[in-house]
Amino acid sequence: MDFFFNLFSDPVGFWNSHTLLISQIGINGIIATSMFLVLYSGQLSLAAPGFMAVGAYTSVLMELYWHTPFAVNIAAGTLLAALGGLLVGLPVLRLRGVFLAIATIGFIEALRLGVILNVPITGEGLGLKHAADPLGGVPIILVSLVVTVFLVWRLTKGRLGSAWSAIRQDEIAALSQGINVAQYKMIAFVFSALLAGYGGALEAHLTFIVAPGDEQYGVTRAVQILTFAVLGGSGFVLGPLAGALIVTLLPYIFLQAGPYINVFSGIFLIAVIVFRPQGIVGRGGLAIVRPAWWPRARARAPSPG
């Protein structure tokens, strides 16, 4: 519990000694917001790690070969990821539900195992080392996070958001109301790719290396990002953010468990999702259901009259 104790007793010292953790939370928050966008429009897409890889590798390669300024690299990575979103979205957005999820898993693993591991310019399995860490520290990430969340929140409140909401609740009804479902889904998918690319490009500059690990750009990461959104609740933009915060902090929450940390993390995940199926942020209390062996509550006497 030292970790949380320090947070309150010595916030400045905490800030200085956990820069990497705070940055990681910020980046996971951006990625979680990207996941929120697709879920909010009713698409179970797990493509985020693929677009993160696009953003990360583009920005690092530009830095290594063209020595362009940091902001240009990030912008290029972000835009290329959005373009990737458009290209991937064209074929896959006809799919729904779990089919979309599996198709996007196919995409991210084909990109990681097929392309990144086989094209020499990406450093293959070893990854790319880049010299400097031009990231102005945590502030850039946190400001980006706040701006991202605010923008996405505004989007969900506007015309786009209403359309997405309608599509999520009932696609056929939305279609019959004259909403161009394909177009609005594509907009959400491309925005989501853009944010993932941005988060990926920033993340590549957290450390001095980008490497194509499974927990970085593979299925494991995709599942983690999905967990952010579902655990936090995907009905409101702050939900995935809360999910990202909690999941990133899980190792600290269960610090006492030592080596059994993943056992407790798993139990925690199950407990949260069982008692709060709609996610942590959202309407309603704990979903407690009377087990079969628990005595029925006594019926109240009917009111007179």
Binding site: R96, V98, A103, I105, F107, A110, V274, V289
Partner: protein
């Protein structure tokens, strides 16, 4: 090359057996049970542990391993799925709860060292181990250029026999009719007097027992048992297999398993080991884009 094709068929059988469990649950519940790969690993790890650390004969260990896997199916149902059904949770929630359970199972095995509280379960931590030679009688036959190990050859008849039995049960018995009724429409099935919860428990028990058996076969034939065999070898490939064959289709999963085995080996031979992983996923992606109902699926299920 011939040898490679034979290997493809061996590994394809394991994929098929694993994927049938996946597809059975998906077909009946419309839920992807992501703890299935952890059950696969648990079956292999527990059987190994019973043979090596507890000195049981292989046959006993196998039966106990499969029984433990089947029991895990009940755990999945009672811990991860039934509470969510009671609360009318969105299907995506079941994805997360089964991921949580998989995390717990893998972490428990991973931490199993001789001094930990899981030492009765597993003592090799994160290491990869193999059954000591001689555990399973394993004569090696040479036919032409082919080298056939009995432990691998045995996989094929076992897989096919189990699939035939499963196919028969699903099609011609009272239980199978009940399961198919639940798959078609749980509410109508309940109104017809079926105990839906019991049918779902049964589905998970069958599915997990098959998963555990697939894990044991993997461990025996490939000599690789570690906490990560489920995650690294079959988790995503299982998805690919059920998509290739058509989600929810049992014959589809079997054919899909062999197909994936062959595709992987062919790309390995023609393009080298680097590309083989990527090609399988690219095939998965293309399949979904071009024919999302799979090779044998008849209709698209819309819910997850």
């Amino acid at each position: 090359m011939d040898q490679q094709i034979v290997n493809a068929i061996f590994i394809g059988s394991i994929y098929a057996l694993f994927a049938v469990g996946y597809t059975l649950v998906f077909g009946i519940l419309d839920i992807l049970n992501l703890a299935h790969s952890a059950v696969f690993m648990l079956g292999a790890a527990l059987t190994y542990s019973l043979v090596v650390n507890h000195g049981q004969p292989f046959a006993v260990a196998c039966i106990l391993g499969i029984a433990a896997s089947a029991f895990m199916g009940l755990v999945i149902e009672y811990v991860c799925l039934r509470p969510l059904r009671r609360r009318q949770a969105p299907p995506i929630a079941a994805l997360i709860s089964t991921i949580g359970l998989a995390l717990v199972i893998v972490a428990a095995i991973e931490q199993g060292t001789s001094s930990s509280i899981f030492s009765w379960l597993w003592v090799d931590g994160a290491n990869s181990v193999a059954f000591p030679a001689g555990t399973v009688p394993n004569p090696i036959w040479h036919i032409g250029d082919l080298t056939l190990e009995a432990s691998k050859v045995a996989i094929i008849p076992i897989t096919i026999a189990l699939m035939l039995v499963l196919g028969y049960v699903m099609r011609y018995t009272q239980v199978g009719r009940g399961l198919r009724a639940v798959a078609e429409n749980p509410r109508a099935a309940r109104l017809m007097g079926l105990d839906v919860d019991r049918m779902i428990s049964l589905t998970l028990v069958i599915s997990s027992a098959l998963g555990g058996l697939a894990g044991i076969m993997f461990g025996v034939a490939l000599g690789d048992i570690s906490p990560y065999i489920g995650r690294d070898n079959v988790e995503v490939r299982g998805l690919a297999v059920i998509v290739l064959g058509g989600m929810g289709s049992i014959p589809g999963a079997v054919i899909g398993g062999y197909l994936l085995g062959v595709v992987e080996v062919l790309t390995l031979v023609t393009l080298g080991s680097g590309a083989s992983g990527g090609v399988a996923f690219a095939a998965l992606f293309l399949m979904l884009v071009l024919r999302p109902q799979g090779l044998f699926g008849t209709r698209l299920r819309e819910r997850i």
